[in-house]
Symmetry: none
Amino acid sequence: MTGQVLVMESARSSRRKPESLARLKAAARKLFVERGYDATRPQDIAKEAGLGHGTFYLHYPDKRACFLAFIAEARRELDDHIQSRRLQGAGLEQNIAAALTAIGDYAENHPGVMRAAFTDERMIDAEGAPSRSLLAEWGEQWADTVRGVAKTSAISASYDPDIVGQAIAGALLQAGREAHRSPLAREALVKNLTAFISRALKPA
Amino acid sequence: MTGQVLVMESARSSRRKPESLARLKAAARKLFVERGYDATRPQDIAKEAGLGHGTFYLHYPDKRACFLAFIAEARRELDDHIQSRRLQGAGLEQNIAAALTAIGDYAENHPGVMRAAFTDERMIDAEGAPSRSLLAEWGEQWADTVRGVAKTSAISASYDPDIVGQAIAGALLQAGREAHRSPLAREALVKNLTAFISRALKPA
Amino acid sequence: MTGQVLVMESARSSRRKPESLARLKAAARKLFVERGYDATRPQDIAKEAGLGHGTFYLHYPDKRACFLAFIAEARRELDDHIQSRRLQGAGLEQNIAAALTAIGDYAENHPGVMRAAFTDERMIDAEGAPSRSLLAEWGEQWADTVRGVAKTSAISASYDPDIVGQAIAGALLQAGREAHRSPLAREALVKNLTAFISRALKPA
Amino acid sequence: MTGQVLVMESARSSRRKPESLARLKAAARKLFVERGYDATRPQDIAKEAGLGHGTFYLHYPDKRACFLAFIAEARRELDDHIQSRRLQGAGLEQNIAAALTAIGDYAENHPGVMRAAFTDERMIDAEGAPSRSLLAEWGEQWADTVRGVAKTSAISASYDPDIVGQAIAGALLQAGREAHRSPLAREALVKNLTAFISRALKPA
DNA sequence: AATGAATGAGCCTTCATTCAT
DNA sequence: TATGAATGAAGGCTCATTCAT
């Protein structure tokens, strides 16, 4: 054990502060996803990062701040992932298909992170940011999309984009969640939802 | 607080177990809704119920059991509420409208309880029931409804009812949630979603 | 369940106070022996006796008093048992054999009670009786026996009866304990100890 | 108390884990001996050691483990003490005298520790070691001694060494205990028991 | 910057005892 | 006499955070 410690020592001492933060971030993400907020102690995170407990407080003022940072990053990452697949200027159907595929990909490659990213903000705020739910944000984005398409009059004029946007976001997430659980083909998911939403929006 | 205690004095001196349980239930519901699971201590619940904290353990083996009971009851209640408004034999549109109205009513009259009823089951299981998410259950019910309507051929045959059912449940919940937040007219919500879903389902 | 309660009700209501005490005694003995002092709650005793918890305090001022009564009775019983086998006027060897047999019998028929009867009195006193250890009392009794035999000059005069009495008591108990554990023949135990002690005492 | 704290201040500020453990050990020993297991709280031990109660759990997983460690150390210490006084190759009489003296010394210098070392193992096991009673172990050692001496034919061949070994151990302990209580001369104790046991063993 | 021993507020739970019925 | 719901002091233990090194 002493040997092992010594070996790491040299490697560790060469690390600068940013490296420690990166390690803490990764460790926090891993543990928050695996065990949830309450079951994860700052000590655990530091240990997982190969650092002393005290170091945690050199980088985060407290546990909550660490969790908040994790959530924010997860949301950013998920969002980036989805945005990057968005086909600019494409039709609604293609947009839906792209979003669904992106969500599915992400969930598959980052198991557990989505659940965390959607964590009830009640745990978070407590005088922090108002912290809109990620799903609500998605809803707003879809509302914008709907508004955009509406201008081309490809959409029934009687819809309220805000309501419909939230409905689309909710439909995508929940259908995606359950599709992931059951061995439903991803393809079927995309096909069904694309049809569902585009028909719903088309003018009568 | 003293006043409250005095008022209850006569009730407490009767020492009826069922009444204590009822008061604990109400207190637990109030606090779990207001503060969430972790921030609510058995002591707080007992105090809120005007009882000593030992009494809590006369009725529940531990804190988790109390929370589970609360969740189960909240779900039952919400479900009853919605079922009771369901128009048997009515068309899809009426069903959607009825469900939305019921959800809205409930959320308005029992603020915070819905959030609790949808609590992430991760906190719950721990060897208990597999505990399907309530939303997923709703999705299944909508899947059944879709299947039922499909027989009358009022629905496009190409849909997978399971997928579509979940999508509908997700759409209703999320749209309902946000409508509740913003001062959107309930009426607009019902109108929009009814149109949205029924159009989505109609055969091409 | 109601039926069962009713059936017991009539049987129970015919009981008078003394009967309740007897039932509590028996229940206390059973549980103290099986679980020890700390792991036995007054509630458990009352339940085992088929009585309500409150009834316990009609018969004992508190838990400790109940335990003390149990210990006292166990000691009395054990002592009676041994005394009743004592051969009055018999020689030392016969006395030893009788005592050993009696101890062995008792331990076999009342498993666990001996351990309790020898319970460290530290748990007990706390301003109660000085409560001499039972073993020390036995030692004194053997001291008396030794003194008695000494008068007939069948014993080396150089012994201090108090010391030797305690030694005999200790030897008998410990040898008896271990003999009981291993499958050593009781007969061998009696034979060995009888020889051991009587030789030890005989004049040189 | 303030004074004590000041005195320790310098020692405490060094924050050396081993020292804290040593102080906890000493404190635990003191309190377990003085008050017994149940009346000693981890908090008390920590306070006695001049430490916060959290520190207790840095060194022991729980209260029981601390007690077990204490018992084990006390037994080891007592055993070492006695073994170190054992006269290798000496005759039986000298062995007995040495053992008695050692027990007496120890009991005098470590009041209360012997009682603890002989604590009923019922409190201990609970899935731990089978935890043979220390007295039974002593009995076995005396059985070995008896067997050894028997080879030189200085002992009656009709004895079962196991039985006789336990008897000797029991006799020594109980006689020692009571001698310690009453103001009997230690010398008398040694003289009496040495004579008692050696006569008992000599061939007829 | 990094460490990890130390801290103590605070949590969940138990149980001997009381008392209105 | 008997009951059992109610009580709250007390206990064991955890964990976010501090701070001397």
